[in-house]
C-alpha cells in the first residue's frame, strides 16, 4: 500500500470521536472481517491471542483469508483446520513451539490446500508493521540477507547511499484487519496490555481496521489513572469486544496459564481429518458462543485451575509429552 493512500484511508475512515465501540464477537466479525481479508492477530500465537474472534470467524465461515503468520500458533492452526485460510505469509506457523508441529497446518501446506506466499523472520515481520505504523513504504534492516528467506520475501537489497554497504529494505505491511487481545480496555477502545507487548504496539497502527478483545471493560477513569499502561489509544480502534478468558487455551500473562490438557486433545484429534471435524463440532460449531465453549472446556473449575497455575499455586502437567 502506498503511504499516501494509507494516510488518506486513515483520514476518511478512522473515528476521532468518543463513541462506544462495544459489540459482540459476532458483530465485530460481520462488520470487519470479510472473505479474502488480510488479517493479523496480536499476541504470540498462543499467548494473549484473541481465540474468541478466531472461533467467531470459523462459526461465520469466512473464507480465503490471507494470514500474517508473524508467530502464528494456535490462532492460524484453528483457522486452517476449519478451512478459512487460503494464503499465508510466514515468519512462524504450522508449529506449536515445544508441543511439536501442528498436524492440521502441516497437512494443509503439504497437500497444497493452503499456499505459503512468502517467508519472513520475526524481526522482519515486526519491522514491516513498524514501517506501516510510521507511515513509511519500507524500513532498512540487517536481517534475512543472504538467505532463501530473503529470496522468498518481497524485500529488496540496495547499496546504502551513505556508506555504500548492502542493506535490506523490508516493505511495509498494512493489514486489512488486526485483532488484539488485551487485559483491559474502555468502551471507546483505549487499551492496556500488562506485560510484554510483542508486536502489538506497532501492529495496532499498521492495520486499517482494529478489533480489540479484552478480558474486561473498565471505565475511562481507570485508564486515565495509569496512562503509562496504555498500549493502544481509542482512535486506532474500530471494535471493542469483552470476553474474559478470550485467549483460552492460550496463556494470558498474570491471569491464566496455558491449558495443556486442551492442547493435547486438540493436537491429538487434528492428526486426522475426522478428528479435526470432531474437535470443531465439539468446541466451535456445537456451541453458541465463547461462553458455551468455556463451559465445554471445563467451566469454572478448569478456569480456576488455570488461574492457580498462572500464580504457580500448582504444578503444570503436559499430557502431550510422549
Amino acid at each position: 500500500m502506498d503511504p499516501d493512500e494509507a494516510r488518506e484511508w486513515v483520514r476518511k475512515n478512522k473515528q476521532r470521536e468518543y463513541i462506544s465501540k462495544l459489540m459482540s464477537p459476532s458483530e465485530a466479525v460481520q462488520k470487519f472481517i470479510k472473505d479474502s481479508s488480510y488479517v493479523a492477530f496480536g499476541g504470540f500465537g498462543h499467548v494473549r491471542v484473541s481465540i474468541v474472534i478466531i472461533h467467531e470467524i470459523i462459526r461465520q465461515n469466512v473464507k480465503n483469508l490471507i494470514y500474517a503468520a508473524k508467530t502464528a500458533v494456535h490462532d492460524i492452526d484453528l483457522l486452517i483446520a476449519a478451512g478459512c485460510v487460503s494464503r499465508v505469509e510466514v515468519a512462524y506457523a504450522f508449529g506449536h513451539e515445544l508441543r511439536g508441529l501442528s498436524p492440521a497446518g502441516r497437512r494443509a501446506v503439504e497437500t497444497g490446500e493452503v499456499e505459503v506466499v512468502s517467508e519472513w523472520s520475526n524481526a522482519a515481520f515486526e519491522w514491516r508493521f513498524k514501517a506501516a505504523a510510521m507511515g513509511l513504504p519500507f524500513l532498512p534492516a540487517r536481517v534475512i540477507a543472504g538467505t532463501d528467506t530473503f529470496k522468498k520475501s518481497s524485500s529488496k537489497i540496495i547499496r546504502d547511499p551513505f556508506s555504500n554497504k548492502p542493506i535490506v529494505l523490508i516493505p511495509a505491511c498494512y493489514p486489512d484487519v488486526a485483532v488484539i487481545h488485551v487485559h483491559r480496555a474502555d468502551i471507546y477502545g483505549n487499551a492496556q496490555i500488562l506485560g510484554h507487548t510483542i508486536m502489538d504496539f506497532e501492529l495496532a497502527r499498521a492495520a486499517k481496521r482494529l478489533i480489540i478483545t479484552t478480558e474486561e471493560v473498565v471505565p475511562t477513569e481507570e485508564i486515565r489513572r495509569q496512562p503509562y499502561q496504555t498500549t493502544i489509544p481509542f482512535f486506532l480502534v474500530d471494535a471493542v469486544v469483552e470476553q474474559p478468558f478470550g485467549s483460552h487455551p492460550g496463556n494470558m500473562p498474570y491471569i491464566y496459564a496455558f491449558d495443556e490438557e486442551h492442547f493435547a486433545e486438540y493436537l491429538s484429534l487434528t492428526k486426522t481429518r475426522e478428528g479435526t471435524l470432531q474437535y470443531l463440532q465439539k468446541y466451535i460449531y456445537g456451541v453458541e458462543d465463547f461462553w458455551g465453549y468455556l463451559e465445554r472446556i471445563g467451566g469454572y473449575r478448569k478456569l480456576k485451575y488455570l488461574m492457580d497455575l498462572e500464580k504457580k499455586r500448582t504444578e503444570p502437567i503436559y499430557p502431550w509429552v510422549e
Partner: protein
C-alpha cells in the same frame, strides 16, 4: 539414579559450559532454554537471558513451552516488545544467539523451513521465527541439534538462517553485520566450531562415549578434524540435578 546420563543430558551440559558470565544470550525454544538456565545456575550467575517476544532477564525456574509465555517475563527486569529486543540485537548487544535446527551444512547455514521442495514440501516446518534474526545479528551463534546424515547435509534444502553462507566473507558481502556468525554446534556426538580461515565446520570435542568414527558416520559432509580433540567430562551430578529440576515433566530431558 544420577550416575547414568542420556545423550540429551550430555548435549545440554556441553552447551551450558560454552556460555560465559556477564554476557547476554538470546534463546530459542527448547534445549537452548534448559542449557542457559543450567549455565546461569551453576557457572555464570550474571548471564542475562533474553526472549524474542520481549522478556529480558526473567528469573527462570522452569522450562517454558513458549518463548513468549508468562515465564519469559516472570520476575524479569523488563517486559518489552519484539521490536525492542530485535533492535538490541541489531545494535550489537547480543553476545550469544542460541538456536535449534532441523538441518545444517558445513558453513553452519540452518534450515527450519521445509524438507524437500519449498512449493510442495515433503515436510513443512515452522519457518524462521526469530532464528534468522538471532543468526544474523548475534555476535556468536550456538546451535544445538541432533546429528545424523539427514541433518548434517551437504546443502540444506532451504537456507532459513545464515551461517557463513558460501564461505569466508560472504556474510559481510551480503550486508550482514561484520564479525558475526556461527560459533559452536552441539550434538549428541560432540561439539563443533568453524575453521578460522575456511569457515568450515570443525570438530572441537567428543564425549566420553563417542568416537571420531561417529562424527563422520553421522554427517553427509566432511568435518575437519584437528590434531587435538578434547574429550569433555560427562554431565556432573549438579548439572543433571538442575536439568531435572527445571524440566520435571521430562519434556526435553527424558525421564528414566
Amino acid at each position: 539414579m544420577l550416575t547414568t546420563y542420556s545423550p540429551v543430558e550430555m548435549m545440554v551440559a556441553a552447551a551450558a559450559r560454552i556460555l560465559e558470565d556477564k554476557k547476554i544470550v538470546f534463546v530459542g525454544t527448547g534445549m537452548p532454554i534448559i542449557a542457559s538456565i543450567v549455565a546461569k545456575r551453576l557457572y555464570c550467575p550474571n548471564l542475562l537471558i533474553i526472549f524474542e517476544a520481549g522478556g529480558i532477564d526473567p528469573l527462570l525456574d522452569r522450562l517454558t513451552v513458549s518463548v513468549g509465555s508468562s515465564y519469559t517475563i516472570d520476575r524479569a527486569i523488563m517486559a518489552t516488545s519484539m521490536d525492542y529486543v530485535m533492535s538490541l540485537a541489531q545494535r550489537g548487544y547480543i553476545d550469544y544467539g542460541f538456536l535449534g535446527a532441523a538441518q545444517i551444512d558445513r558453513y553452519g547455514n540452518i534450515n527450519t523451513t521445509v524438507i524437500g521442495d519449498w512449493r510442495r514440501p515433503k515436510v513443512r516446518l515452522p519457518g524462521s521465527g526469530g532464528a534468522n534474526d538471532v543468526g544474523s545479528l548475534s555476535w556468536k551463534t550456538i546451535t544445538i541439534m541432533r546429528q545424523d546424515k539427514l541433518r548434517f547435509v551437504d546443502r540444506v534444502d532451504y537456507v532459513t538462517t545464515p551461517g557463513y553462507l558460501n564461505g569466508p566473507g560472504s556474510r559481510e558481502r551480503t550486508g550482514l553485520p561484520i564479525n558475526t556468525g556461527p560459533y559452536r554446534v552441539v550434538t549428541q556426538i560432540g561439539v563443533y566450531g568453524f575453521h578460522p580461515e575456511t569457515k568450515e565446520m570443525m570438530l572441537l570435542a567428543l564425549y566420553p562415549n563417542t568416537t571420531l568414527k561417529d562424527v563422520q558416520e553421522n554427517s553427509s559432509f566432511k568435518i575437519i578434524v584437528p590434531e587435538k580433540v578434547e574429550v569433555l567430562d560427562p554431565p556432573t551430578i549438579e548439572e543433571l540435578k538442575v536439568m531435572r529440576e527445571i524440566d520435571p515433566a521430562g519434556i526435553i530431558i527424558p525421564r528414566r
